[in-house]
């Protein structure tokens, strides 16, 4: 599983970073970036789905 942040859509709500800091980081402006090329380590799939389901801007997608 991989996660991807669409930088054009991200407005820095930081929901993904607070729910899944293992998968996302934020830059100095507060915009989200995926960690580890977006690869989701085993066991963190639920957190990845939570990040997607809580992004108000629909900026995060998952590919299996």
């Amino acid at each position: 599983m991989r996660v991807h942040v669409d930088a054009e859509k991200c407005q820095g709500h930081n929901r993904c970073y607070s729910l899944a800091p293992e998968l996302f980081d934020v830059d100095d402006l507060g915009n989200a970036v995926e960690l580890n090329d977006g690869n989701v380590p085993e066991g963190l799939e639920h957190k990845a789905r939570l990040a997607v389901a809580n992004c108000p801007e629909y900026a995060i997608t998952i590919s299996e």
Binding site: Q11, H13, S18, A53, C55, P56
Partner: protein, 407 residues
């Protein structure tokens, strides 16, 4: 209390007014009714105002910065005049700015409100909450809004700007004038003019003091910041100070108050939260969804049709994010507060390029304030539900919450 100079509303679909006591006390049934019958309402009040109440329309307008300008974001009898800074800058950049200036003004401020900067303020906030709670110990009935919630953002923002904390009463007064009294004031209101000049003078004094004694705070940061190689215009600095005072205090105070009000009359939620602190992040987001304090506004920049409604240049549009957050088409069980709701794409901090700049700060203050309160008083309850009062205008939250503390 707001001086309401407007006649009472009898039909919210054709003559709504967000300062009407019915709306102020409980707007949710009004929005539910409109969603089912008239999802974009219109009123001739304030010179012509539209009210979308679905998530679909609220978000469409929030994203449409071509047809809707942020030059004014608080609906009032007075539209921006020739003496105000013109678009795209506006009176209080970047909230009143449009593209392309908006992105520059916002980019300048974003680092000051990024998560790691905000994390650094958490110990101060936690200590502040505990000092306030210490003062409540031993009392039977206290006001959770007046004696607790309001002090937290007042002092956090004063600390960030580097303003004297003893001026907190003055900030409260200014915010009340702008967000509540200012709505129904008219252009030739002398009091409004005098207050505006006094506030400018206050900012000028703070600026002069920071120029003479630079220090590590947001005011010095603004004075040293550069846009395109130039220092910010004096009006830009003052405008941003105004923005931070108005946007950073009343809003967070309202969110803290609403969360405590909810817990004070929902003992099962309070009990669960006290027993399962891991629920806190979800509970905080759910409080933000269900009791989002902030309704924004736009002016129509050019004639446009939204949802079949002919919006004309210069019309006001209220953007009730709290109504979008209660839309059953968008949220499962939208009218219920579910403190362990896991999927929550709420729009309490807005959508699109104007996402609340201070959302990380607000969330931290709200979480710490609720955590510390629940730790200290895990059994509090509303003392007198009928004594709870709500702020009128575009920022909604309880202004008085008498609660009984366990003896």
């Amino acid at each position: 209390m707001t001086v309401n100079r407007h006649p009472p509303v009898t039909d919210f679909a054709t003559d709504f007014d967000h300062t009407d006591p019915t709306w102020v006390n409980n707007p949710f049934p009004i929005w539910d009714e409109l969603r089912a019958t008239c999802p974009i309402a219109h009123s001739d009040r304030y010179g012509g105002t539209w009210l979308p109440v679905t998530h679909e329309h609220v978000s469409a307008i929030a994203y449409d910065t071509d047809n809707f300008t942020s030059r004014a974001v608080v609906v009032s009898e007075v539209r921006p005049g020739p003496l105000d800074l013109p678009a795209p800058i506006g009176v209080a950049p970047p909230i009143t700015s449009d593209p392309p200036f908006h992105a520059m003004a916002r980019r300048l401020l974003l680092p000051a409100f990024a998560p790691r900067k905000v994390d650094a303020l958490e110990p101060f906030t936690r200590q502040l909450c505990n000092d306030l709670l210490d003062a409540l110990e031993g009392k039977d009935i206290v006001d959770a809004a007046v004696e607790y919630a309001q002090h937290i953002p007042l002092r956090v923002i004063a600390k960030m700007l580097g303003f004297p904390t003893e001026d907190a009463d003055y900030f409260r007064h200014v915010i009340h004038l702008i967000l509540e009294e200012g709505i129904t004031a008219t252009e030739d209101d002398d009091e409004r003019l005098v207050e505006g000049q006094a506030l400018d003078a206050y900012f000028d004094n703070q600026i002069a003091d920071h120029v003479a004694n630079p220090r590590d705070d947001l005011t010095t940061f603004l004075l040293e910041a550069e846009l395109d190689g130039n220092k910010l215009m004096h009006e830009h600095v003052r405008g941003t100070m105004l923005l931070i005072l108005v946007a950073g205090i009343d809003t967070t105070w309202s969110a803290i108050g609403s969360a405590l009000w909810h817990l004070a009359h929902n003992p099962e939620d309070l009990k669960r939260l006290a027993a399962e602190p891991d629920l806190m992040p979800f509970a905080i987001e759910e409080m933000l969804r269900a009791y989002a304090p902030v309704t924004m506004a736009r002016l129509v920049a050019q004639d446009v049709e939204i949802g079949g409604c002919p919006m004309k240049e210069g019309d006001w549009v209220l953007l009730p994010f709290p109504a979008a957050n209660r839309d059953p088409e968008f949220f499962d069980r939208a009218d219920e507060v579910i403190i362990d709701r896991e999927e929550n794409r709420h729009a309490a901090f807005g959508l699109g390029i104007h996402r609340c700049l201070g959302s990380n700060l607000a969330r931290m203050e709200l979480r710490v304030a609720v955590e510390e309160w629940v730790k200290r008083f895990p059994n509090f309850e509303l003392a007198d539900p009928s004594a709870v009062t709500w702020a009128a205008g575009q920022v909604r939250g309880p202004r008085s919450i008498p609660v009984r503390l366990p003896g």
